[in-house]
């Protein structure tokens, strides 16, 4: 079999550019990202796919920040214990953040990496932006 180039074996692929999806503050300070499709990605990704990813992320963040019986209960319990309960318990938000991290990893593996893109978890950018790194297309096969 002819040698396949694994990108892991090569040096880091060169970064072509980065696209930043900014926050959407239309509904206040909750964490939402704009679903407008950036023009730089047009050649690499489907609009549909992109919107689906961002929408799912938005839904997950909404779930994390949801105000409901459960979060109030957590808050009241924390207040009564002088907030020491946070030292031993993981907050609901943190649990959802882990879920988001898994989702992003999953999306990277299935959708973005095959297209030479990389999605960065917004938490690593302070929940300001969703950073999509576009890598140079070194081995453009004839079929693409």
């Amino acid at each position: 079999m002819a040698e396949t180039h694994s990108l892991q074996d090569l040096q880091q692929p060169a970064v072509f550019s980065k696209v930043f999806i900014q926050r959407d503050y239309g509904s206040g300070t909750i964490c939402r990202f704009q679903t407008k499709f950036p023009s730089d990605l047009e050649s690499r990704l489907d609009k549909q796919q992109f919107e689906e990813t961002i929408q799912t992320l938005n839904n997950l963040y909404a779930e994390a920040e949801k105000l409901g019986g459960k979060s109030y209960l957590e808050g009241c319990l924390a207040c009564l214990t002088a907030y020491t309960v946070f030292l031993c318990m993981e907050t609901h938000y943190e649990k959802v953040l882990k879920k988001i991290a898994r989702y992003i990893k999953d999306q990277n593996e299935k959708v973005y990496a095959p297209r030479g893109l990389l999605l960065t978890d917004p938490i690593e950018r302070g929940l300001r932006v969703v950073e999509i790194t576009i890598f140079e297309d070194r081995n453009i096969g004839s079929g693409r």
């Binding site: 079999m1 002819a2 040698e3 396949t4 180039h5 990108l7 892991q8 880091q12 692929p13 980065k18 930043f20 926050r23 503050y25 239309g26 509904s27 206040g28 300070t29 994390a64 920040e65 949801k66 105000l67 979060s71 109030y72 957590e74 808050g75 924390a78 207040c79 002088a82 907030y83 020491t84 946070f86 907050t91 609901h92 938000y93 943190e94 990893k105 990277n108 593996e109 973005y112 990496a113 095959p114 030479g116 990389l118 960065t120 978890d121 938490i123 690593e124 950018r125 302070g126 929940l127 300001r128 932006v129 950073e131 790194t133 297309d137 081995n139 453009i140 096969g141 004839s142 079929g143």
Partner: protein, 462 residues
């Protein structure tokens, strides 16, 4: 054949920008991997390997702690034995519970990340610049940048932060003392030695509420003690003078603490921050809405629940994460302070406005702008200048109208300024007060009680 030339799937793990990845293992032998807090660009101090965060100037936190501990200590030592005999054994129990609650809330407020926004990475900053500079010429520095957005049908202006190189999210403000943008910025509190923002507002609120209860409780007990002594015809002078000291401390602090608690209860119920209230961002002059505040849920209970019992947001600065080995710290160069006069002045203006409004009678001269308010040597020179107007403030405040509503609350809180032994200045209720409150206590109290101002520059690790 095509297959061989196709992309091999990029393994996200190998390329992940996350610093806590395998890169650590390969590079570790060169040098110890540094954690992010070691290269943090803001003016904060970290303890316990990044677990505890504090402002660079811890303000009068040692004083706050000291006063609480000393007063409670005197209470337990001198009043409790008497009251346990005469009343009930629950007195020290209640006192103890309140004391523990107060201290824990205080420490949590001081040591928690208030909601600091990490600065933009160079790539992000460049991207934003690119979007802004499409029209203007780049030969000179462009004017301050703002972006208008619509939140719940209300126009809100987002300002560009030159230090952090990003557009500040709504309700976020840059604290010049800590040199960080803080989300839902309320105020910088020297009593607590930290900013009060999204993540630690609930701790701050529970601190002042529990402190109100504690102060009232001790005050009540002391009054009872003295009354019983008088009733029993015991010589009043025999009773330890400590009881009198407690009485005095509690009497004066009750007004300020209760006033402050009342003010913050109002803020919580209307989902406002001290910053917004002082600047009059959503005062009723804006329109026919009852509040004009786009963040309010228009229900007191919902507002309270959201602010105090809402989900606890995570810390965004990832203090204990590892730095990528060869990457420059993002936007770290505090040295690129081309703008500090501009930025700091903005914040200073914001604060001076509020100071002027409510404290126009008082005024500290201190040129708090850009300096370290609590530094010891400043106390003496400030003495004679106590009534001079703060220099930098120039504009008549538009928030004058709005702060008048709270005048009755703030009045109670500002009164103690005149009293020499006011314990905790309610200047808390006003943003700038934090910058000024340090000279204030040093002016009024320190000279009387403590002599030298406490060593504020350094806080020992608890």
């Amino acid at each position: 054949m095509m297959k061989n030339c196709e992309y091999q799937q990029i393994d996200p793990r190998a390329l992940a920008v996350s610093p806590s990845s395998a890169q650590n293992h390969t590079e570790k032998k060169a040098r110890r991997p540094r954690r992010k807090w070691e290269a943090f660009p803001g003016k904060n101090r970290f303890f316990c390997n990044g677990r505890i965060i504090l402002a660079r100037q811890s303000g009068v936190l040692p004083l706050t702690l000291g006063l609480i501990v000393v007063t409670c200590g005197l209470f337990f030592a001198f009043d409790c034995p008497f009251l346990v005999d005469h009343l009930t054994v629950f007195i020290p129990v209640i006192g103890g519970v309140l004391f523990v609650f107060v201290v824990i809330s205080l420490l949590r407020t001081s040591f928690t990340d208030p909601g600091i926004l990490p600065r933009a990475t160079p790539d992000e900053a460049a991207d934003i610049e690119k979007q802004i500079d499409t029209s203007g010429s780049s030969t000179y520095r462009p004017p301050p940048r703002t972006k208008e957005i619509l939140i719940n049908q209300q126009v809100v202006k987002l300002k560009y932060c030159f230090t952090c190189k990003m557009f500040r999210p709504p309700r976020t403000s840059h604290c010049s003392l800590c040199d960080n943008c803080v989300e839902r910025f309320d105020h910088h509190c020297p009593w607590v030695g930290n900013c009060v923002g999204k993540r630690n507002y609930r701790f701050f609120y529970s601190f002042i509420i529990s402190l109100s209860f504690l102060t009232s409780f001790i005050f009540g007990c002391v009054i009872t003690h003295i009354t019983l002594l008088i009733i029993e015809m015991l010589s009043f002078l025999d009773s330890s003078s400590c009881t009198v000291v407690e009485l005095v401390i509690c009497f004066f602090s009750i007004w300020s603490i209760l006033g402050l608690s009342g003010f913050h209860t109002y803020l919580v119920a209307s989902n406002l921050t001290t910053n917004e209230d002082i600047k009059g961002s959503w005062s009723s002059k804006r329109g026919s809405d009852d509040s004009g505040n786009p963040y309010s849920y228009n229900s007191i209970i919902t507002n309270c629940c959201v602010t105090l019992c809402g989900p606890m947001p995570p810390s965004l600065i990832d203090r204990r994460g590892f730095l990528p080995p060869n990457e420059a710290v993002p936007a770290a160069s505090v040295s690129e302070i081309e703008l500090p006069p501009f930025v700091a002045k903005n914040d200073a203006h914001m604060c001076t406005q509020s100071t002027k409004d409510v404290l126009e009678r008082v005024v500290h001269s201190s040129d708090f702008h850009g300096l370290c308010p609590p530094s010891t040597p400043k106390t003496t020179p400030l003495g004679p200048e106590i009534f001079s107007i703060a220099a930098p403030s120039t504009e008549p405040s538009p928030s004058a109208g709005c702060t008048r509503q709270h005048a009755h609350q703030s009045a109670a809180t500002t009164c103690p300024l005149f009293t020499k032994s006011s314990k905790r200045d309610s200047l808390h209720s006003i943003n700038p007060a934090f910058r000024l409150a340090s000279p204030s206590p040093s002016l009024s109290r320190v000279t009387l009680i403590l002599g030298d101002a406490p060593d504020i520059g350094f806080i020992p690790l608890p």
